[in-house]
Amino acid sequence: MASENSSCENNTAIPVMAPDKEKVNIKIRLSDEKISMINEICARFDNDPGELINVLHQTQDTFGYLPAEVQELIAHNLRVSAAHVYGVVTFYSYFSMLPKGDYPISICMGTACYVRGAEKVLDEFKKELNIKVGETTEDGRFSINCLRCVGACGLAPVVMVGEKVFGRVSPDKVRDILDEYK
């Protein structure tokens, strides 16, 4: 036994040398266009893992949110784990894994707005739209988020819908604001 003529010919499965680098990929269901846009954003930061937060910012600015597929692709490009990217995305409230509505509503919870009743305004939006903070209505039109100070404290409480600023908002004005977008 264990002789020189041991039959390694039986092992038919010894194929070619140099592994094919192209085979190393991750499965994603993003369109080719989106993939190349994300790749471009990552390349803008030299695929540097230290630039993860900046990459996430630009990606969210481009797509509006950061779905899991996007996070996996970024993780792959920056050579960090998807768990790490997800950890960062879930740590910062600015990042969202849900698409925002066509009309994203931001209620300022800064000190000035808060003491002048921003929470009651927020409650009214939640009631009217029947969603929580961070969620989007089923028809995809509205989403609610909170932010800290837009620098218009004289107008407190302040609400933004998209880029438009509404000042001195009270709960009974919420209906009127929403009606503008219906």
Binding site: S6, N11, P19, Y86
Partner: protein, 590 residues
Amino acid sequence: MENIELTIDGKILRVKEGTTILKAAAEAGIDIPTLCHFRLHDMDIENKPGGCRICVVEVEGRRNLAPACITECTPGMVINTHNTRVLNARKTVLKLIVSDHPFDCLVCAKSGECELQHLAQKFGIRDIPYQGEKSTYRKDTSPSIIRDVDKCIMCRRCEMMCNEVQTVGALSAVNRGFMSVVAPAFEMDLVHSPCTYCGQCVSVCPTGALTEVDNTNEILRVLSDKSKTVIVQTAPAVRAALGEAFGLPPGTLVTGKMVAALRRLGFKYVFDTDFAADLTIMEEGTELLCRLKRHLNGDKTVKLPILTSCCPGWVNFFEHNFPDMLDVPSTAKSPQQMFGAVAKTYFAEKIGVNRKDIVVVSVMPCLAKKYECQRDEFKVNGNPDVDFSMSTRELAHFIQQSNIDFMDLPSEGFDNPLGESTGAGVIFGTTGGVIEAACRTAYEIYTGKPLERLEFTELRGLEGIRSATVDFDGLKLNIGIAHGLGNARKLLNEVREGKSTYHAIEIMACPGGCIGGGGQPYHHGQSDILKKRARAIYTEDERKTLRKSHENPQIVRIYDEFLGEPGSPKAHELLHTHYFDKSEEVSILD
């Protein structure tokens, strides 16, 4: 580095600049309690997020207390490590941690080994004044590891092991504040993550947040089923660590007592995985020589280096991370699976029992083995070659609950034929052992000459990556060794880039090899324990009369009677396997 002078608890000492208070105190023999801090001294493994605040000390002139594990000493510091202010702070911190922890100690798998429980005991915590919401999270059970993050204290040791040491990247801290947990990406279960089940997270978890799947009850059930012939195999590293669970000093070999205990537990045949390790050497060594000869004959298609494939955590790792290189590792099954395949064919025939009535149990230092034995390719018509795999820790509990006085047991020998082994099989249990065993056999087969020097000391040690050139009578064989998956990744990247000059590489997923496996008695960060286990393994090897796998008479016999020769069609059918691209399984999305 400048030396600086400081005072700790009235003792004046000099330490190197940059030394932490914790380390300086330790050097002066002063013990400061820690919880999140973790260090494996000789392996450059350290976790110090400075998060738990148990190690706070008073630094005179400083307003607040300083965490000793991350605060560096400065000249003239005067430190009190155990005054009233410090002790009160530690108690408050402990009470706050425990206030968001289940009071499950009586039924917790970690009870008795839990560092939080130990601290609560040590500091006499008798009431928790902070009543409020507790964070809750779903339990996640995989084939090997259970995550119960309600018991997690966010020390991040597992995260450090999984990411920095193993570079597996299955776990990360996610969410924020009260809601934060350590979880896989997108909070999926472990089975949908790149987890390799190496179990290093379990081996460093201070609480019961990460534990192994316990198979003791299933094993108890088959042992009381009269229609079953229950066989057990024990991995090499188990005998070098099991004694610790019974209060024996680390590094005590308990081979004979272990065999006696298994017999008293009701196993009909007590066999040795070392036998299968010898078999692995025959197959893997032959495959190495085969590839080598083809390479030397100018065959450009042959894959070199050959990588060992005994370690299931490592197999999972390359299936997830190097799917383009599935043809590089040896096709030889792991010893656990070779044993199962042989037990349910060769041995089943010998005793005239149908494979369905044979139950093969393995005792392993490993948690990935639990997953490995469930893999579909290791089943025949749904019947697994190895039915259950239990860890060293589970065996210790099993012996304890069965009312066996381990210390009083006589030393007994393994049964035959699958209990016969050589020293080469034993050293599989420590990093460098597999390749040393392979060299002992491959050298003699290749050169046709007897080996003058059995011990390849150049292949031994605990450095994460080692390399040596072994002279095969003129043929210089470049050997690489890596333990810890982060080190393995480095060598694998070299292979992928075509820069590797090795002919053969041994890889073990766990730091130290199997002696430091995820299923071993907890070492609580004492790397001395790993060194002593390794020494025990080499001692067992030295004590054996036969120390080369091909000289094992039962190995000679199984080839004569059953397998033919190494690499034969029969050997391929039973002893070899193939690997799968698992990179896509990680992606959860559809």
